[in-house]
Symmetry: C2
Subunit: 213 residues, 2 copies
DNA sequence: GCGCAGGTAGTAGAGATGTACTATGCGCCG
DNA sequence: CGGCGCATAGTACATCTCTACTACCTGCGC
């Protein structure tokens, strides 16, 4: 609980890739104003570490096996964790950015960020402000313009992407084909696309549905 | 041209992400049997560096602005470069793996690879053998099973993904709607899918078409 | 020169999709 | 309680998609 030096920003790295962990440690280690407390390779480990190490800032990867970064943010919020979170990820779908900010991320960086910018983001967030690069902010705005798909619509969108017809989808969900059609039309309107095929492209592009590798 | 120590494997890192560069340097620096000659942030820089530094192994990212890793491999082959290449990437679409191996990559690693495995891959490739993890090899086999789409089919698949109808596609390509239909049917057969919507999902999933972020 | 792959074009018909409405029941929130 | 969003269901019609064929031309390799 006692901090050795109040001016030093204490960092916890959460990323399942060893090379990223090593890279961040190496990029941050030489700077006296930050101190890397440690690294976690999973969300579960991160939450445990957070209670022990009391970091000021958590650098958080979104895509991890098990808990995702979003899950970790949720858990942090519930536990009223004092640490602030900066998302650090290779991917930047509109949906991911939107969700991360919604559950309380204070910063959002891409993995191609320079050391200089990374340090600046850490300083900014530690000072209590948000750090969202313009490019990311633009995507966030884009996403906030559009209304969200409902749970049912998401479910149906996923079935579209697997090539099910309206009839097959209706049977699978035990609703009529007509109802499926209504939902499909809502999806097309919300995504602002011409047909189900484009809907799938846009949904994947924006991270609304995932394509299991 | 004179190598200080023949037992040392000389490495060139090619990746546009500073954090990955730093991570790889840090993971490899402490090991006496490898020596990192330097890092390049782009394919163009990598090719220049290769002539100067004469590395034994190039650790090559696939996704980079400008030249992709595949482009670099092509250029290396044309110039009959002596260096062997190991692909090091976050992504692993069937198509990327297939293309990389086809143009002469000797290894294929994911960025979640441990330090131990990375060193082993480097040693194996330096000894003249290939290093393909079982998981990657399985995907490669999967890809080799299927016949490739023709240039025309690819073009039409891209238009499908944008929501164009057969008629619109025909007009855009100045061919008849009937011909488009024939191509679409070939696509469905080759991808083994039920309809154009599933075709787009599968094509994106396998890296056959890209979704511009 | 012949076969083969790829691109082109056509026909006919069954079925799926998209559009444009109306309408009901449920649960939530102010 | 009233309004609203959501899920449900329906009808009718125009259009698009998919299937199953046949057919011709070109370029390439054996």
């Amino acid at each position: 609980m006692n901090r050795p030096d109040k001016r030093v920003t204490r960092i916890l790295i959460v990323d399942d890739h060893p090379v990223i962990q090593a890279g961040l440690v190496s990029m941050l280690a030489t700077h006296p104003e930050v101190s890397v407390m440690g690294s976690a390779s999973s969300g579960e480990e991160a939450l445990a570490r957070m209670e022990e190490d009391m970091p000021d800032i958590v650098l958080l990867d979104l895509r991890m096996p098990g808990m995702t970064g979003i899950d970790v943010l949720h858990a942090m919020r519930q536990r009223k964790a004092s640490a602030r979170a900066i998302i650090l990820t290779s991917f930047e779908t509109d949906e991911n950015i939107y969700r991360a900010i919604q559950v309380g991320a204070q910063g959002y960086l891409l993995k191609d960020t320079s050391q200089r910018e990374m340090l600046q983001a850490i300083a900014t967030v530690h000072a209590g402000r948000k750090y969202i690069p313009a490019q990311i902010a633009a995507r966030l705005a884009e996403r906030m313009m559009r209304s969200s798909l409902t749970a049912r619509e998401l479910e149906i969108l996923n079935m579209l992407s697997k090539g099910l017809t309206n009839k097959q989808t209706g049977k699978a969900l035990k609703i009529s084909e007509n109802t499926v059609r209504n939902h499909v039309n809502s999806i097309l309107e919300k995504l602002e696309v011409a047909d189900r095929t484009e809907a799938v492209t846009v949904a994947i592009q924006q991270g609304i549905i995932q394509v299991a590798g």
